[in-house]
């Protein structure tokens, strides 16, 4: 069925990878995220110490420093979850990753655990931006953001 002109946007719910308050990206104290250079999205002030898959998909990338993870949702949406600010400088210290690039994941699967105290001791904030890295290419729009107490982080419309 090829119906390009009348293609309806697909809806995709991105759940919170970790519980916590939702923060506008513009308030994240790292210009790469606040200026949306990495893409549009939202951030969370994490309450827990575990990042779980925010949707079904596949692991695209885990850097050696284990402070971030990229996933591809089933409809091609790419997400980057970046735990903390400037945490690349910790060289992996305080992070434990439970998956590998290429692994399929289901929503809620444990991805990365982090040691709140160890990261705090190094003076790093835990603010966690979650951004869509291929929004232009896939014509993805953020329809709405979740609230502080809901499980939903954002609702996307995928038109690509």
């Amino acid at each position: 069925m090829l119906n390009i002109l009348g293609k309806k946007a697909e809806k995709l719910i991105i759940y919170k990878p970790v519980k916590g308050k939702v923060i506008d990206l513009s308030e994240v104290p790292d210009a790469v995220f606040s200026e949306r250079l990495m893409g549009d999205g939202a951030a969370i002030e994490p309450e827990g110490n575990e990042v779980a898959a925010p949707c079904d998909g596949k692991v695209l990338l885990v850097p050696k420093t284990l402070h971030a993870i990229a996933l591809e949702a089933e409809n091609g949406v790419e997400l980057l979850i970046h735990i903390g600010i400037d945490t690349v400088e910790l060289g992996g210290q305080g992070f434990t990753c439970h998956v590998n690039a290429g692994d399929p994941v289901r929503r809620g699967d444990k991805l990365i655990s982090f040691d709140r105290e160890a990261i705090g001791r190094e003076g790093k904030a835990l603010t966690t931006p979650i951004v869509i890295t291929n929004a232009e290419e896939k014509n993805i729009e953020i329809v709405k953001l979740g609230t502080d107490n809901s499980d939903v982080l954002m609702e996307l419309a995928v038109k690509g």
Binding site: A31, L60, T133
Partner: protein, 84 residues
């Protein structure tokens, strides 16, 4: 098509900010840009692709540029990647 091997000099290699700047630049260019390291080729417009190459400071990467403005495109890319 132009191909050039270049050493990345930024202190964090091609991570986060420089990778994002690189992608923004590639989106503005008319030419198609690809990056290659150890046989893996990724599109210049893909931030995840670039980050997956894990290019550290002092490592070499091959830039492949193809299109109408490829000469000029290669120059601005070299300028960005040479920045410390």
């Amino acid at each position: 098509m132009l191909k050039e091997i270049i050493r990345v000099n930024g202190k964090d290699g091609l991570h986060a900010r420089p990778a994002a700047e690189f992608v923004q630049l590639c989106k503005r260019l008319k030419s198609d840009v690809k990056l290659e390291k150890n046989g893996t080729v990724v599109p210049g417009k893909s931030i995840i692709g670039i980050m997956s190459l894990g290019i550290a400071k002092g490592e070499d990467v091959t830039i492949i540029v193809e299109g109408g403005d490829e000469g000029e495109a290669l120059n601005v890319i070299m300028e960005l990647l040479n920045k410390e």
